[in-house]
Symmetry: C2
């Protein structure tokens, strides 16, 4: 199942400078290998009915591909039927095309110890993506800047419970819209040594993101290995915009992985009923995945999932609600039937504060992502305000919860040590296990240990702990974490080359702000 | 599978007074019939190894039964081996005994429209149980009183998302410890018409609780139908105290359901490793369930589950953590292999405030209870402070989340209406579904609608909404709910008889406060 090219030798380029000691901070495993099954909630009949509806959507309704004649030409050559911008597909055609995509692949990090596997039983947590605003308890909500952007990279890098540096963690709106992708990619490389995502907002920005990855990893290595992801969105319902397909094709052309994601708020961009929204999601995503294979057969691609609901009183989108959570479990089943790696949206909420609503909605959606078998969980940490804001406090709370999920995904071991019969022989009825040999042997690894939740008795919490809520503790922690942050070493020659590249690109064109 | 006796006619006694209109407030279904499968995380080998370890604990370590010679005599007659207070059991013996217990039964409510099924695919949400303290945002934490107790009954009754009135929702410590059970049972009957739980803190209190139920339902009906539950705890590890076994036997004798619950904080009352704690839980609970069958063959009984962890730095118990959440899924699998209804602990947290920690921990444990297949979920609403406090605000937040779980447990429908192909034909690519026929036909039932979470845009939330967090909104809502509460009608003759009974019992003995 795993792409053998991903296990090849590191490129010469990587040998130029000092390598980071992989055992240095941050601690933590590079990614999770799940030891619990996925939660499969729908039987064969339901799955087949949804797939059949998806095939009917593709064959009878079709998908529009706008502003990308090359994409239409690829479809024509592949045997799809074109009617203006609308493309329809014979049942089974797209499933056949995506069979060439790998079921699992490695995304390489500049520190090899942090490379992640995407597919199979792997679970990769990545920060939230795409908010125009940031917020914290001190300064409230404001537009994001490159300083915020870098702060979140540093916070993610410092967490042992995240595995990926993410992409557009927040929009750095203090930089020109046509140049900020350069600073974003550079910041990921400079302030983290984990894997990251590039730009998709224009074809040249996608290509320049990949170019910068080539500087780090070497051109040949990049041509044979995935080192950067690009997250592209369907313009649901049933429209692929040229900006997105051109970016997607740029990633595929370079043998890099596009993440293909519909954006369906049931009742607005899709039906209000879950099965219909899932069928649509399947059709839209399948079409995108297939297009990457027409661009470059065998390129890695990730089947994405983004279902949400809306308040039918106010028309506001809603997040972390039960219907999308349960629907995502079905999308997971469908992705596995296609043998494609799965991306799911993780932890999001409509709350404007890091409060009980934020964590209720966040945990519902995050557990859904974990249960549905997602391999790459974007939005694992930070979102508030209905995707519009990255919250410093929520980021820390979510990262701590990602720690809990490391323990959760270990499942239940049942070897002799875990069954602990010797402990019962030692302790017997009516005694306690605190000092038992079995406890002494296991206590250091027994339970996940939170860094933010308070487990003290009430009196200690109120007298010594200052009666804080978790948001106040998270506020202290992100400040301390930023103060203690140390950047991972970066080869000076690579750093210089990246900066040269950025400066040249920036000097090529005038600043644009819209 | 279902006890046929539960479908018998209502007793004559119930006809004495006016019956409530079942369509009156509170709205909501009497209980949930789950439409998603349980989340079975362990395979056959793991389950068998845990059961085998449980059998070895029963056969080689044994369980102590203290201060209840009649229980020892029942065990001796059943063929168990006695060594002082310690009882050991041949492998398979207890599984054979519990085979006589019903896999599912009805607990009748005084309003027949609110009777609940316990077993099979049913899910019943019941408030939290047993806190000495209560707290709210205005007055902070203090000891619970009978007024608080009644307030929580009223709040539970007013929620369409809870199904059961619960038991000792909080300890009314302003009443004598040897008499308060009378006021608690009376309050459940008076202020709600849902099913409820009685006392277990002494044999006579259990019997008096059942006597009061007999006044409401009639003696014959009670002898043939379950109308009251008693929640009894193991003194883990491997000790059953006489107070609990006598109460348990009193419920079984009256053909009422005991809920048999271990209390295992891994590392203290059980091993630090999950599999061992689960094996212990299985052995302790199985022994309790079997004892009810020796007392009265065929009496309903509920297999209970309470796993939690501890902070191995401070020794504090921890709740809503990942290990017990994942362990509960295995306990659910084991309960189904025994064909017994399952009780799980729902929503709890160590937080001292209704904050993000409270909801993170609460949702993790509540979803675990729902996924593991629990039929009766005690502690569905209200707990904070590590089981020590009932929070008014948390109660409202949890009840709202129980509403979300109603939608979640519906799963994904896949009939033609749900698949919505006609909507795609109507809308097509690039349009939206808001005004489509399909949306108009389905929008009223499409998505669960929260009463507490905020889904407005940021500006509306901050300008018109007062920038509230969910706890502040819950604070307003519990006050409004209490102000608008109306008691369900209660037959005057029954009310008088209950009060007579209470007064006689209260006059029999002096007040005791410890």
């Amino acid at each position: 199942m795993e792409a053998d090219k991903s296990t090849g030798p590191a490129p010469a380029r990587r040998e130029r400078g000092k390598r980071r000691d992989p055992s240095a901070k941050p601690l933590g495993i590079p990614y999770i290998v799940r030891n619990i099954p996925t939660y499969d909630i729908l039987g064969e009949e339901g799955l087949e009915r949804i797939e059949k509806t998806g095939e009917r959507i593709l064959a009878e309704i079709g998908i529009e591909f706008r502003d990308d004649p090359a994409a239409l030409e690829l479809w024509r050559k592949a045997g799809a039927k074109l009617d203006g911008l609308k493309v329809t597909f014979e049942p089974g055609m797209l499933r056949e095309i995506v069979a060439s995509a790998p079921a699992s692949f490695t995304q390489h990090a500049r520190n090899p110890a942090r490379s992640v596997e995407i597919g199979g039983k792997s679970v990769v947590f990545s920060p939230a993506y795409g908010s125009p605003f940031v917020m914290d308890l001190d300064k409230g909500r404001r537009y994001g800047t490159i300083e915020d952007f870098q702060n979140f990279i540093k916070l993610a890098y410092s967490s042992p419970w995240l595995h990926h540096s993410g992409g557009t963690i927040c929009e750095p709106v203090d930089l020109p819209v046509n140049k900020r992708h350069l600073d974003m990619v550079y910041s990921h490389i400079k302030y983290s040594d984990r894997a990251f995502m590039g730009s998709v907002t224009a074809e040249n920005r996608a290509e320049e993101s990949i170019d910068m990855a080539r500087i780090v990893f070497g051109r040949d290595f990049v041509d044979n290995n995935c080192v950067i992801l690009g997250n592209v969105n369907v313009n649901s319902p049933l429209v692929w915009d040229g900006t997105m397909t051109k970016a997607m094709r740029a990633y595929a052309r370079a043998n890099q992985a596009a993440v293909i994601v519909p954006f369906i708020l049931g009742g607005a961009m899709g039906p209000v009923t879950n099965a219909g929204a899932i069928a649509q999601s399947w059709a839209e995503t399948l079409a995108g995945c297939a297009l990457t294979q027409l661009e470059r057969k065998g390129a890695p691609v990730i089947f994405g999932n983004f279902l949400s609901s809306m308040s039918l009183r106010s028309g506001s989108p809603t997040f972390g609600t039960p219907e999308p959570a349960i629907g995502s479990m079905v999308v997971g089943q469908l992705a596995r039937r296609l043998k494609l790696p799965l991306r799911c949206a993780g932890n999001f909420s409509n709350s404007k504060l890091p409060d009980g609503q934020a964590m209720q909605e966040g945990v519902v959606s995050m557990l859904s992502a974990v249960h549905c078998g997602a391999n790459f969980i974007l939005h694992s940490a930070g979102f508030l305000d209905g995707l519009l804001s990255m919250s410093y406090e929520k980021f820390m709370m979510d990262a701590d919860f990602c720690g809990a999920l490391h323990a959760y995904l270990k499942g239940v071991e049942f070897d002799d040590n875990a069954l602990a019969f010797d402990a019962f022989q030692e302790v017997g009825p009516g005694s306690h296990f605190l000092g038992s040999q079995h406890t002494l042997r296991n206590y250091q690894t027994a339970f996940w240990d939170t860094e933010l939740s308070d487990n003290e008795p009430f009196e200690k919490w109120s007298d010594e702990g200052g009666s804080t809520d978790i948001a106040a503790r998270a506020n202290k922690k992100w400040k301390r974490t930023l103060a203690e942050y140390e950047a991972p070493p970066l080869d000076v020659a690579i750093d210089d080359e990246l900066q040269d590249y950025m400066n040249r690109r920036k000097n090529d064109v005038a600043d644009a702000w819209h």
